[in-house]
Symmetry: D2
Subunit: 309 residues, 4 copies
C-alpha cells in the first residue's frame, strides 16, 4: 500500500473496502468518500449499503468481493462474531485480500481476537492496524472522532490520512495492535466508572431532598468540567435515558470484553465487576433499550427512589 | 450581623473569629485579612496563630475568647470531634457568641453534626451557614476555592463578600445547612470514583505492557479533559503519591462520613464501599502518609505489579 | 468473688446483678435463677423486670442499686450506648460495684467499648469477662447457648458454673476480653456470608425456573448440612422473613460493629461491605421489621423477581 | 436403552462408553466396572486408559470408536471445549451413537452447552441426562458422590443403577437437563461464599492477635458444623493450600460458568463477582497450583499479613 498512500498524501485516491455500515460505520464511510477515496462497501443488510451508492460507493455482494481489489480493508462491526465471519469464514476477506494490503479494524473487539488477527494477517503477508475510535454517531458524522491506533509504525503513518479524514486526533498506542483494543476497553471502563459514581451520588442527593439540578450545576461548574459529566450527569439527574447515545447491551458487551482482557492479564478490577452487576440488574429491570447510563437507575431503585420522585 | 455585613459590602470591616489554622485554614484566614476584615484567631497549637499575627490577626487563648465579640465565627477544623470541642465543650464558643451572629462552618463534618449545629444555633438565636469548600491548599492561597453554601438565603447573601474573598465561585445548595455537607461528601466521593477507576485502568494498561504515559496522554487529550484526570492520573501513572495534596487518612475520614450519611438516608453506595475497602487495605500496606490517590496501589498489588515495574 | 464462686461450685448461691431483660436477657436470667443464684434485676422498662419477680428475682430501681451488693454483674443490653449508660453514667454501676467483683458482659458490643471496659474495671480493681453468646431466644430458654468467653483465666474458671447454667458449651477465646467480641462479630459475619450466598443462589435457581424447594433439599442433604442452611435457606426459598428470629436492624448493627473492628485492625472485608450495602438497601425497601435474612430479597429484586413469583 | 437397563436392574451388564479419565473419571469408571458393567474407555492421554485395562475395560482409540456400540455414553471432561470436541468434532461421538442410547454428562459444563446437547441429542433421537456430581476424588473412589440428575424422568429412572454405583445419593432436579448444571454451579458458588467468608473472618481474627485454631474450634463446634467449614477452615487457619483437593483454576472456571449462566438469566450476583476478583488476584499472585481455598490468601495479603505471621 505504500505507493498508493504516499500518493494519496498528495491527494491520490485510495481503494478502500469498507465493511460494516451501522450507526458509526455509515458516517465514517461518508467522510472517507468526501476525502476523495474510492469505496467498495459491504453490509449484511444491503439497503444500508445502497444508501451510500449516491455518494459514490460501489456495492459488493460479499465481504470477499469488497476486499478483492482493495489497498485498504476497513471493518466497523458489532462484535467478535461479526468480525470473525467477515474475515475467517470460508472464502472470505482474508483469503482474497492482496499481500501488502492493510486491514484497519475500527471495531470494539476482544483483545484476543485482535491478537489472532495480528497473526493471521502476518501469515498472509498483509498488514493489520487496530484503530479504535471514541465518540458517538454525531462525532463520527462531524469527523470528530478520537482515534487510537496501534500497529507497525510505517503502516500507521501511511494510514494517517484516513484517520485524519474521520477523526480530530490520533493517538498512537504502540506497535502491538491489541494495545489499541486495550485502550478502547479501558477508556470505556472509565466512562462507566463515572456513570456509576454519578448514579450513586445522585441517589444520595435526591434521597436527602437536595435539588439534583443544582448539584449538577455545581459539579460541572467546579472540578468535574469534562463534558462527560454534563452528558451523563444530565441524563441521571433527569432520570431519563433516552435518546440513546450508546445502547445498554453494547456497553455491557464492552464491559464483558474488558473483564475478559483483565482476566487474561490477571488484573482484578472490582469496579468493573460492580459495573457488570449493574448491567445485569439493568437488563433484569427491562432497561435493554436505554442508554447505558441507565445503570444509574439501579442505584435509584436500591435506594427506594421511585421514578420521577 | 446584617448591619455589619451590609456595611462591609461597602467596604466596612467585619469582626471575625477564625478558629482552625491548618493547611487550609491559614491561607483562608490570610485572604480574609487581605480583604480588610478584622480577625481574632484561635488555634490549638498556638504557634500557627502567631504566624498570622504579623498579618494583623489578634490571637485568642480560647475559642470562647475569640468568639466573644465576633459578628462572624468561622471554623475550619479537622473533624467532628474538633468542631464539637470548640462549639459545645463547657464554656466554649456557642455559649458566648452573640445573638444574631453567624457561624460559618467550612469544615468537612458529618451531616449529622451539621444538623445538630443548625438546631443549637437556632436555640441561641444565632445563625448557621454550612459553607464547604473544594480545592487544595494552593487553591486556598490563591482564593480560588469553590464554595458550596447552604443556610438561610438572607444569611448567605450577607456572607457572600466573605466567600468572594476566599473563593472563585459560590454555589448555593439550599436553605437547609446540611445540604452543603452532603454535596461536599458527594463531590469527594466522585473524586474517589475517578481515582479508583484510574487505578484499575492503569493496572490493566501496565500489566498488558502498554506505555502508561501514552495512555495518560490519550485520556487527558480526548474525553477525560477535567484537570482531575491529569492530576490523579499523573500520580497513578508514575506510581508516586508524594507530594501529598490530600492525605490518605483524611480521604478515608470523608469516605466514612459519606457512608454514614448514605446509611442514614438509606442509600446503598457499593462503589463507596469498594473505596472504603481500598482505604483500609492502603492503611494495612503502610500508605497512611501518602496522598489519597495511593489507593491505586492496591490495584497494582492485587494485579501482581511490583513498584516501578 | 473467688470465695463465693468456689462455694457455688459446691452449690452455694451467687449474688448476681442482672441488667437488661430483653428477648435474650429474660430467659438467661431465668436459667440463672433456676440454677439457684440470687438475682437482683434491672430493666429500663420496669414491667419486664416484674415478670421475673414471681421466679424469685429482686427488682432494683437503678443499675447502681442492682450492682451495689453484687458478686457478679451481668449485662445483656442492646448496644454500646446502653452499656455505657449503665456503666459510666454519673452514679452508675461501675461506681458502686465492689472491688473483686466481676462484670460479665454478654452483650454484642464494639471491640473498642470492650477494651474500654477492660481498662475501667481494672482501675477499680474489679474484673471484666467478655462472654458473648450465640443462639436465638429459644436456645437461650433451653440453656443451649454457645458461650465465647475471654478474660483472666482464673475469672473464667470461676464464672464457668454460670456459663453452664445458660449454655451448652463454652469456648475460651483467650485472656484479652475483647477477643470474645471479635469472635462474636466474626461469627455473625459468617452467618451473613451464608445468607448472602443463599440469596444469590436462590435468585439464580428461581429465575432459571428450577424448584427452589428441591434445591434446598439438595443443599441440606449433601454438603450444606449445618442447620443454618436449613434455617436461612428455608426462609429464602419461601421468600418469607417472618417470624423474626433476629431483626434486620440488629443484624445491621452487628455488621457495623464488625466493619469498625476491621477498620481499626486495618483488615479490608469486601464481603462484609457487600452485606452492609444489602442491609442499607433492605431498609430502603422497608424491610426493617423482617428477619435479617430478608437481605436476600435485594437479590430477588435486582434479578427482577417479584414476590411470590 | 430401556431393555438393557431394565435387565441391568436385575443384574445384567450395560455397555458403557466412558470418556474422560481424569482424577474424577478414573475412580468413577472403576466403580462402574465393579458394579458389573462393560466399559469401553477413551482418554486423550492413552496411558490413563491403559491403567483401567487390567480392571477389565476395553480401550478405544477415538471417542467415536468408544461410542459406536454403547447403550450409555458417559462423559467426564474438563470443560466445554473438551465436551464439544468429543461430541461435535467431525466424525465424533454424536454421529455414531445409536438412536435410543443415552448420554450421561457428568462434567461441569456451561448451562448453554447443556442446552445445546439437549437439542443435539433430541435431533438424533438419542437421550441426554445431565448428572453433575459433588465430591472430591476420594469421595468418587468411595462411591460417595452426590449426584444431581436432570432429564426425562424415564431416562433418569433407567440410569439410577449407574448413579447408585458411583454415588451415595441422587437428587432429581427436574426434566430440563440444564437444571442439573445450574445446581452444580450454584452449589460450587455456595462453597466459594463459605471460603471467602472464612478468608475474611480469619484475616480479622489473625490481625487482632487471636488464636486461629481456637477460632476454628469454636466455629466447627457451634453453628458451623458442616464438614466444609472444617475442611476449608483448616486450610485457611493454617494458611496452607496443599494438598490440593480442587485446583484453583478449575474453581475459577466454575465461577466463570456461573457468572455466564447468571448473566444469561439476568441475575446479578455480586458475591460471585467478588469471588471472581479473588480468583484473578490469586492467579496474579502465582497461586495457580494451589487449592481454590487459596483465594483466602488475598484477604491475608490485603490486610498486610505475611505468610506464617
Amino acid at each position: 500500500m505504500r505507493r498508493a498512500l504516499k500518493d494519496q498524501q498528495k491527494g491520490v485516491k485510495v481503494k478502500i473496502a469498507f465493511i460494516g455500515l451501522g450507526n458509526m460505520g455509515t458516517p465514517i464511510a461518508r467522510n472517507l468518500i468526501k476525502a476523495g477515496h474510492t469505496l467498495t462497501v459491504y453490509n449484511r443488510t444491503r439497503n444500508r449499503a445502497e444508501a451510500l451508492q449516491s455518494a459514490g460507493a460501489k456495492i459488493a455482494d460479499t465481504p470477499a468481493e469488497a476486499a478483492a481489489n482493495a489497498e485498504v480493508l476497513i471493518t466497523m462491526l458489532a462484535d467478535d462474531g461479526a468480525v470473525e465471519a467477515v474475515l475467517f469464514a470460508p472464502g472470505n476477506a482474508i483469503e482474497v485480500l492482496r499481500a501488502g494490503a492493510v486491514h484497519i479494524s475500527l471495531s470494539t473487539i476482544s483483545v484476543a481476537l485482535s491478537r489472532r488477527l495480528t497473526e493471521a494477517h502476518r501469515e498472509k503477508r498483509q498488514h493489520y492496524v487496530a484503530a479504535t475510535v471514541f465518540g458517538r454517531p454525531d462525532a463520527a458524522a462531524a469527523a470528530k472522532l478520537f482515534v487510537v491506533a496501534a500497529g507497525a509504525p510505517e503502516q500507521i503513518k501511511l494510514c494517517q490520512p484516513l484517520f485524519d479524514a474521520i477523526g480530530q486526533k490520533t493517538f498512537v498506542a504502540g506497535e502491538d495492535a491489541p494495545a489499541a483494543n486495550v485502550i478502547k476497553l479501558a477508556g470505556n471502563f472509565l466512562l462507566t466508572a463515572t456513570i456509576e459514581g454519578l448514579g450513586e451520588a445522585f441517589a444520595l442527593v435526591r434521597k436527602c431532598g437536595l435539588d439534583q439540578n443544582a448539584f449538577l450545576e455545581f459539579l460541572t461548574g467546579s472540578l468535574f468540567t469534562a463534558p462527560i459529566y454534563r452528558n451523563y450527569g444530565g441524563m441521571i439527574a433527569a432520570d431519563k435515558f433516552e435518546p440513546v447515545g450508546f445502547k445498554l447491551p453494547l456497553g455491557m458487551k464492552d464491559n464483558r470484553l474488558l473483564l475478559q482482557a483483565a482476566e487474561e492479564a490477571a488484573v482484578p478490577m472490582p469496579l468493573a465487576s460492580l459495573v457488570h452487576d449493574r448491567f445485569v440488574a439493568a437488563l433484569a429491570q427491562g432497561l435493554g433499550e436505554s442508554d447505558w447510563a441507565a445503570i444509574a437507575r439501579i442505584s435509584y431503585q436500591n435506594a427506594g427512589l421511585k421514578d420521577g420522585e
